[in-house]
């Protein structure tokens, strides 16, 4: 195919030109003379020469090879170098001069802090602030600490489109900071800027759930959260933050605000239409407009409902801790009524398996951390973070549970003393377990999401503990009876099996009805957050929803009911062990699916989004 009339080297010539940098290295005369070096063509790669005192960096090869397509020669480099010197001074003036009006004249005093101020009338929706935040802060591919949403409304004669730019609001009462279990957030006492300490963060992402404004962003690659710091290094030097500098309409400013006024405006809900209720965290950003926005302004994404990414380790952790706590609790309750001989027979297997589930839950929960090697830091936030408290409560629960579960085994094999652990220990284990569940509930209650409100979440979590605890206890009883083949066990199974079975049906049925009650929100005319959740569960997540209810009904109601109705002759119950194991698995699957929906279907309050 080669064309005889064309020199074979011609293509190579152009490829070589293309690969040669036209722009030299070195920032003008000073940098260039400091960087004096020599250059040559080296295996196709260019080592560069800097001509000392020549006013710039001149790739020698470029100069010698002559100008051709794809790049012009040395003159270009000269040009850049000259431009640099001028740019340093003039550019700096242009930067500071232009933005001085957008910066506060004074530093914040007592009871004051820095805050963003957005002039809605000047924002035309170009979204340069988002791109500039990304570029000027050197963020990851998709990462930007600013977002722009859209509000629309009004009537046919005078419709209104209003873009809304939003970043961290550097709240007076930052939820991220209170939520953080490792104290990776600080509110600067002088500036009020809410700063994130990246190396302190261990990547639990709780702040991303706690912030109503979606300000902290999690980076899976880095295993930590990062967020807007109002370009505090720039501010400190009198330079405007990236978003302020980049806005063509000069719609974003930095202002000094009075804390009192922030509180007052939050109390009267003067924030921006479509935004979460400002009373939660007292955001300091001010949105100004000279126009009266119509009352029917809604975010462009008001009607769009999208599943949230589920947190699998949390799903497993929650379901299994509740299983474990439930199992211990049922055991303690059973111990109140059942003969101690029976309990002694059940306990080794039951408490051991409950413990295994509990430890598994805690192990899996660590996987949720972006930097699990720093899991121990979780204790730092005990004074304010429900997540810290949850971790500590479950840690104590696990520690005591190990002692408790080991007691019969250790007694039998090490102390040769045998016998049960003291009842107070069992109750203490269960007590810490329940406290842990309580902390779990509060972890979600704290986020102020309707679907995660404390009452509903508490019912769900405790009922999960009940359903799985009962199923586990029943299974333990049955396996013990089958294993030991003792008459006492068989009798106990005959006596307590139906009780556990009926209780399971009751708990499971109640829980399913409770969960299904959510769908009443489908009838709501306005798109409330609970209606969004119901829409998700009946729409995008409908397959999971069906599976969840199917598993719940089969494992928690149908299969136990079959056992009850089967009329298995006395003493033959043990034959049902595999069946009960299956229903236990079904119950567990149902609860895991329920917890999946708990995360995937939650509708979070957020700043207005785009189309």
């Amino acid at each position: 195919m080669a064309n005889a009339t064309v020199p074979a080297t011609l293509v190579d010539h152009y490829l070589r030109l293309q690969r040669r940098p036209t722009v030299g290295v070195g920032g003008g005369a000073r940098a260039a003379s400091a960087d004096t070096a020599s250059a040559r063509m080296d295996g196709g790669r260019l080592a560069r020469t800097y001509d000392a005192g020549g006013g710039g960096a001149v790739p020698a090869a470029a100069a010698s090879e002559g100008a051709a397509s794809g790049g012009s020669g040395a003159t270009a480099v000269d040009r850049f170098a000259r431009a640099h010197d001028d740019a340093s001074a003039a550019g700096r003036r242009a930067l500071t001069g232009r933005y001085s009006a957008l910066m506060p004249a004074t530093s914040p005093g007592e009871g004051q802090q820095y805050a963003f101020e957005v002039d809605l009338d000047a924002c035309s929706g170009c979204k340069s602030c988002v791109a500039a935040c990304h570029a000027m802060n050197g963020l990851e591919d998709e990462e930007s600490w600013r977002d722009v949403g859209l509000l629309h409304g009004g009537g046919d004669a005078e419709p209104v489109l209003q873009h809304v730019t939003t970043a961290c609001h550097h709240c007076l009462d930052p939820a991220c900071m209170h939520a953080c279990p490792v104290d990776a957030y600080e509110k600067d006492p002088a500036t009020g800027i809410v700063k994130h300490l990246d190396d302190q963060c261990f990547g639990c992402q709780y702040c991303t759930l706690a912030c109503p404004y979606d300000a902290p962003k999690y980076s899976a690659a880095k295993g930590i959260v990062r967020k807007c710091d109002m370009c505090s290094d720039r501010l400190a030097e009198g330079e405007a933050p990236a978003c302020v500098q980049s806005c063509p309409g000069e719609a974003i400013r930095i202002r000094v605000v009075d804390a009192d006024q922030v509180v007052e405006e939050s109390e009267t809900n003067l924030f921006v239409p479509g935004a979460p209720e400002p009373g939660i965290t007292l955001p300091t950003t001010t949105y100004r407009t000279a126009r009266a926005l119509p009352r029917n302004m809604i975010p462009a994404d008001y009607y769009s409902v999208n599943p949230t990414a589920p947190h699998w380790p949390l799903i497993v952790m929650l379901a299994l801790t509740q299983l474990s706590v439930g199992a211990f609790l049922v055991e303690q309750v059973l111990g109140l009524v059942a003969p101690s001989a029976l309990m002694a027979a059940i306990r080794p297997l039951h408490s051991a398996s409950a413990l295994v589930f509990g430890l598994l839950a805690l192990a899996v929960s660590v996987l949720h951390l972006g930097r699990p090697q720093y899991a121990y830091r979780a204790v730092i936030g005990l004074r304010h973070s429900w997540l810290s408290r949850e971790i500590v409560a479950f840690g104590l629960f696990a520690g005591l549970a190990v002692t408790y579960a080991a007691w019969p085994w250790a007694g039998a094999h090490l102390l040769s003393a045998g016998g049960a652990a003291p009842p107070w220990l069992g109750w203490t284990v269960a007590g810490f377990g329940v406290a842990g569940i309580g902390c779990s509930v509060m972890v979600y209650q704290f986020t102020q999401k309707d679907f995660w409100n404390g009452w509903s979440t508490g019912c769900k979590f405790l009922l999960t503990a009940a359903v799985l605890g009962l199923a586990a206890a029943w299974l333990s009883l049955m396996v013990t009876a089958a294993w030991t083949e003792s008459a006492a066990s068989a009798a106990a199974l005959e006596r307590y099996g139906p009780v556990l079975c009926r209780s399971l049906i009751a708990a499971a049925a109640f829980k399913l009805v409770f969960e299904a009650a959510l769908f009443r929100h489908l009838a709501a005319r306005s798109t409330t957050s609970l209606k969004r959740t119901a829409l998700l569960m009946s729409g995008a997540l409908s397959q999971t929803t069906v599976a969840r209810f199917a598993a719940g009904v089969v494992g928690g109601i149908a299969m136990p009911a079959l056992v009850l109705l089967s009329g298995t002759p006395a003493g033959q119950d043990v034959m049902l062990a595999p069946f009960v194991a299956m229903l236990f698995v079904a119950c567990l699957a149902g609860e895991l699916l329920e917890r999946y929906l708990f995360f995937a279907a939650v509708a979070s309050p957020k700043m207005p989004g785009g189309v």
Binding site: S69, A76, F80, G125, K127, G138, L161, K222, S246
Partner: protein, 725 residues
């Protein structure tokens, strides 16, 4: 252990003074050099400062102090470097093999095959059976080389650019009215007007940096927006006239009638500098208030108010863009705008003008130097004097210069359909996405004997159809100049390495010349900068004379230079801004501008029983560019626009059709059907739908109708139906 305030994660975000006047930069990306280049997206022509470290670009910021953008950029500009790194960059020539798969081949094999196939086609079907479709995205030097190579070297008769889709209407409108394609304004006019009238333009989204100039206007200008949609710009307007699509002509004539009737005419200006006023004044008499109100659907009072606003303004500027250009009667509509400026003497003074905001970064370069509709340098193929002048400059035989301009884009498409064109060379445009009535054009491209696509990405809809893909270096990987909307010439340069074996389009054209056997003819076109010198000589004596510009260095020092800049004149001051026609002398031989007008025509495809809605198309967001071949490659930009195609529909229509907000709907036209998400919003009027042009499916719906003078496609009005899926 327990408390860690510093470490590699914190250091990752440390900012440090960047030097070079940049302010603070990410410490990781502290540059050791910077280079300034004009942005490669739209015709605003912002300058961007690329931060270089160890010879490679690491970041960019908009250039402070540049007279166009003054330190700001839209998201596309901010992300201009990111899209160079996409994994689907074309890195090697790809040749379709016998099994129909595109396989990597060497440049030698690729160019050998291209020349062999193209020559075989010409031998069989004649020289004119080859054509090219080019772009407004390449530097002027590359456009000129391509145009000269194709027509003077390879013997092609026909070539056009995607500028046909954006600027052709303005070109013809200006040429007929002023005697030359000469946008008269400078951006400072945005700041100096007291009345700013936008017709079919949404600068807030399409040209955010120009909107910035309006915001900087210290005179508290009255902003008037003529647009069927309630756009962001309309929101900012003192008066918005949401007229019926394509009734602008009627509105503008009606306003003229009011101005004339009330004596609000600058009679002195009209008398001294124009021709055709009497006929125009008589013509507009038929556009009575009642008629215009009926044509446009506007309240009569609003029409009178517009006339009064124009009259009250001391310095009124009129601006139009695609709402006018992409119309079956775009030329006459643009001229109706020009007529109003002439009538009221709003021309040649600060803050005035009838001003077309251009589309692509180098649409203006294409208009003057692509050698398609005009002979190089804004000359006329039909004029023997022009031909011999150009031949003289290039040192070629005048006889190789065709005597007629190229066919327009749609005529080339038709030529393929009629088997008169069998080989096509597509450069830096995406016909299979962007051309009107897409299904048809894809069918047409499929009929070619040999399709060569030269692009920076091997993944465009058109590249995937190609027999041969030539990998091109992108903006930022090569040198040259762009001419922006206000006629400002600015440089681009290589700051990044092109991936693989991709070559600058300039180098590809040079190689094609060598393989074709006409390399000798282009020896003087040694480099982009050498070509710039040729371009200068071609411009000599033309209204766009740039012989006074020494070289690229001068362009950089002066912050770009607006044409004209003839040799001998005083060199423009750095950062200066200049407008045309300050002396009232236009480019027609008699020095007078023309009043041009024509009866408005009915919509080619009016909504009816089966297709009751009118479909408007246009830009979606400031983060999207045309067919998204580049903008879709930036993760940040992707965050800024909806990932799936959507259709805007008025709430009353949605209610009547049972379309719920954010539901999936089907939009149908006589040519095709698409599925989209319904965005129920009052930004469109009842009876209208709006679909952004950036999504690959949009042009399945549009109707291939063209302006008779400019041959520009009418993208913004066809009849469709919509319903729930």
């Amino acid at each position: 252990m327990l408390r860690q305030r510093d470490g590699h994660l914190s250091r990752d975000l440390v900012r440090t003074p960047g030097g070079f006047g940049l302010g603070q930069v990410p410490a990781r990306h502290k540059p050791d050099a910077t280079a300034d280049l004009v942005c490669g997206y739209c015709s605003t022509g912002c300058r961007l400062t690329v931060h270089l470290k160890d010879g490679a670009p690491v970041n960019l910021t908009p250039t402070p102090g540049y007279p166009v953008n003054r330190g700001t950029a839209c998201p596309k500009g901010w992300e201009a470097l990111t899209v160079l790194d996409a994994p689907d960059r074309a890195t090697t020539p790809l040749l379709r093999d016998g099994a129909g798969n595109q396989r990597p081949v060497s440049w030698d094999a690729a160019l050998g095959t291209m020349v062999e196939r193209f020559k075989a086609i010409q031998a069989r079907h004649g020289a004119g059976s080859l054509a090219f479709l080019s772009t407004g995205q390449m530097p002027t030097e590359e456009m000129a080389l391509l145009g000269a190579l194709a027509k003077f070297g390879m013997g092609m008769l026909h070539g056009d650019g995607n500028t046909r889709q954006c600027m052709a209407t303005s070109v013809v409108a200006y040429k007929q009215a002023f005697g030359f394609d000469a946008p008269p304004y400078t951006y400072r006019d945005f700041e100096e007007s007291d009345v700013v009238v936008f017709v079919g333009a949404n600068p807030c989204i399409a040209h955010p940096i120009l909107w910035e100039r309006v915001l900087r206007n210290p005179h508290d200008p009255a902003v008037v927006v003529v647009d069927p949609r309630f756009t962001e710009t309309a929101m900012q307007a003192a008066q918005h006239l949401p007229l019926r699509p394509k009734s602008d002509q009627s509105l503008l004539y009606g306003v003229a009638r009011i101005l004339i009737e009330r004596g609000w005419v600058d009679a002195a200006y009209v008398e001294a500098h124009t021709r055709g006023y009497e006929a125009y004044a008589a013509f507009v008499q038929q556009f009575t208030l009642d008629r215009v109100a009926a044509d446009t659907g506007l309240e009569p009072g609003e029409i009178e108010r517009l006339a009064a606003t124009i009259h009250a303004g001391e310095r009124v500027s009129f601006w139009w863009t695609m709402g006018v250009n992409q119309s079956y009667q775009g030329v006459r509509t643009a001229q109706a705008v020009i007529d109003l400026a002439l009538l009221t003497g709003n021309m040649g003074r600060p803050g005035t003008g009838a001003n077309s905001i251009t589309g692509q970064c180098n649409a203006m370069g294409s208009r003057l130097f692509s050698n398609t509709t005009n002979l190089l340098g804004g000359h006329d193929f039909g004029d023997a004097g022009d031909r011999s002048k150009v031949a003289g400059v290039l040192g070629i035989d005048p006889e190789v210069i065709p005597h007629e301009p190229s066919w327009a884009y749609h005529e080339i498409v038709k030529g393929i359909l009629e088997e008169r064109i069998k080989g096509l060379w597509v450069i830096a445009t995406n016909t299979a996405h962007s051309w009107i009535n897409q299904s048809q054009v894809r069918d047409v491209l499929g009929r070619l004997d040999f399709l060569v696509v030269q692009d920076m990405y091997a993944s465009t809809e058109t590249a995937r159809m190609a027999d041969l893909v030539l990998p091109a270096a992108a903006w930022g990987e090569k040198d040259g100049t762009f001419i922006n909307s206000e006629r400002r010439i600015g440089t681009i340069r290589k700051v990044a390495a092109a991936p693989g074996e991709a070559l600058a389009d300039f180098a590809i054209f040079k190689l094609v010349a060598e393989y074709w056997g006409c390399g000798e003819q282009f020896r003087a076109w040694e480099s982009p900068e050498a070509t710039f010198q040729i371009i200068k000589r071609l411009s000599a004596g033309q209204p766009c004379d740039i012989t006074g510009i020494a070289d690229y260095a001068m362009l950089d020092e002066r912050g770009g230079i607006q044409w004209p800049c003839p040799a001998g004149g005083p060199p423009p001051a750095p950062g200066s801004e200049r407008r045309l026609f300050e002396d009232g002398h236009f480019h027609h031989p008699d020095g007078r501008a023309r009043f041009l007008f024509e009866d408005p025509r009915a919509l080619p495809e009016a909504p009816g029983e089966r297709y009751p809605f009118l479909l408007l198309t246009g830009r979606g967001t400031a983060a999207q560019w045309h067919t998204q071949t580049r903008t879709a490659k930036s993760a940040v930009l992707r965050k800024l626009y909806p990932d799936r195609v959507y259709v805007e529909i008025n709430p009353s229509d949605a209610r009547a059709l049972g379309i719920r907000p954010h539901a999936r709907v089907e939009v149908r036209s006589r040519r095709g059907r698409i599925r989209a998400t319904a965005f129920v919003t009052r930004s469109v009027q009842p009876g209208h739908l709006f679909v952004p042009m950036h999504y690959a499916v949009t042009n399945r719906l549009t109707d291939a109708v063209f302006d008779p003078y400019s041959k520009q496609p009418s993208y913004k009005a066809c009849a469709v139906d919509v319903g729930p899926v």
